[in-house]
């Protein structure tokens, strides 16, 4: 978990100051933070052994519900 946090902090420290220096629009920050936060949350859950249902399962479930996949 510590390694995961360290990796994400390094990535954020590499990108965010660059965005601030170049005065990037807010939407760049929003998308960046959203993707990184989602990645961090899933990584921490995986590291903790609490694997959330994966998108592959959701897709399979939807296709089964429609009746495309048995």
């Amino acid at each position: 978990m510590v390694i995961i946090l360290a990796v994400f902090i390094i990535l954020a420290l590499y990108d965010l100051p660059r965005f601030i220096r170049k005065k990037e629009p807010v939407k760049v920050f929003v998308v960046y933070v959203f993707l990184m936060a989602a990645s961090l949350a899933v990584s921490l859950l995986l590291a903790a052994g609490k694997r959330p249902a994966s998108p592959a399962r959701w897709i399979e479930w939807i296709l089964k519900m429609i009746g495309v996949v048995k």
Binding site: D15, Y32, L35, R51, A56
Partner: protein, 360 residues
């Protein structure tokens, strides 16, 4: 739009690298067992038609990316919604290829190394390549993709004394349905995934060569896949080829007195790297166009990080990966690879016909 340009040969090699991508370890046509050659041929014909559709869309909408075409044809609201679905699709493809790569390396080459480390290090290299731009990606493919057929040839020649060409027989033992299913899977993986190239086609310097380049790359991949299939089945036999998890790796292990195993890793590095780069580039560029961000490079790190995490999250184990790729992927891909592109082609043709009608 970015002014970068790629030549026809660079696009040809990028498409070959992309199509070969993870097909080097997972070839859906092999589910037809000893009739896989027929599935490869039928899938190749279908794949050529599909890539022809994508090339036609690009030629009917010159200098426009997939996102711009979607917004033009569907309007801003629906266009944006469909673009977001495509962004997800490109991210999903990239993460699946990351996972294929990670599974292969941690199963065969570095069994003691955690998969996240293997995928993470590969991702760092790819981000560097993607941030360097499409021209660098094109030049890198010029440098590396030619190794793919060369390594396939080296492995095949090394096994030239160990062959049984009766392994193809009997033909159509399991019926035509299995062959057609395998051919359909082969169309959706890898040919249909070239929809991502609609984000790259505007960078081609000679647009008139687009259809020729697309057709030649499909032909090349079909011949290469047939060549590799013939090698694998004649060396391993139908049953073992079907049961093996990573068939080319097993074949390469059978070469007496010579260890060419790393050549498969190199092939996967080149093909998988090209495919992931194209998909992440397409996703970052599409997202930047949807949001009106000037440079796609601002989003590549975040998208690649998400792809890496998704690749670990998406399957629990290698068996789920193979099962999902065989059973779910072809149907999940239909809207992205066939339905929406065909609607786009129809609307583009209609739009082109409109001005001539009004002149009459």
């Amino acid at each position: 739009m970015e002014k970068a340009r790629i030549s026809s040969i660079q696009l040809f090699l990028l498409i070959i690298g992309f199509l070969y991508g993870s097909t080097v370890i997972i070839n859906p046509a092999l589910s037809a067992k000893n009739d896989a050659w027929l599935a490869i041929l039928l899938g190749g014909v279908g794949g050529a038609l599909l890539i022809g559709v994508y090339a036609s869309i690009a030629l009917l909408n010159p200098s426009k990316t997939l996102v711009e075409i979607l917004m033009d044809r569907f309007g801003k609201l629906i266009g944006n919604a469909v673009s977001i679905l495509y962004i997800w699709y490109f991210i999903h493809i990239a993460s699946l290829v990351f996972r294929n790569f990670g599974e292969f390396i941690t199963t065969m080459t570095f069994p003691e190394t955690p998969m996240a480390v293997v995928i993470g290090i590969f991702a760092v290299l790819l981000v560097y390549g993607i941030n360097s731009g499409i021209e660098v990606m094109g030049r890198t493919s010029e440098l590396f993709v030619p190794f793919i057929p060369v390594t396939a040839l080296i492995i095949s020649l090394s096994l030239i004394t160990t062959r049984d060409f009766t392994a193809f027989l009997p033909m159509l033992e399991n019926g035509m349905a299995l062959v057609l299913n395998a051919a359909f899977s082969f169309i959706t993986f890898p040919f249909g995934e070239t929809i991502a190239f609609l984000m790259l086609f505007p960078h081609l310097n000679k647009k008139e060569n687009l259809k020729k380049v697309a057709a030649l790359s499909v032909l090349f991949i079909v011949v290469l896949c047939l060549f590799i299939f013939i090698r694998n089945i004649s060396v391993l036999g139908s049953d073992l080829m079907y049961r093996a998890i990573f068939t080319p790796h097993l074949t390469s292990l059978l070469i007496p007195g010579l260890n060419v195993e790393p050549l498969i890793d190199i092939n996967l590095l080149i093909g998988g790297g090209t495919k992931i780069s194209v998909c992440i580039y397409a996703a970052a560029k599409a997202l930047s166009q949807v949001l009106g961000i000037s440079d796609y490079r601002k989003l590549t790190t975040a998208i690649t990080t998400f792809c890496v995490v998704l690749s670990i999250w998406v399957y629990e184990n290698v068996l789920e990966m193979f099962s999902w790729a065989e059973k779910v992927w072809p149907y999940y891909s239909i809207p992205f690879q066939m339905v929406i592109p065909l609607i786009l082609l129809f609307l583009s043709l209609k739009k082109r016909a409109e001005p001539s009608k009004s002149r009459e």
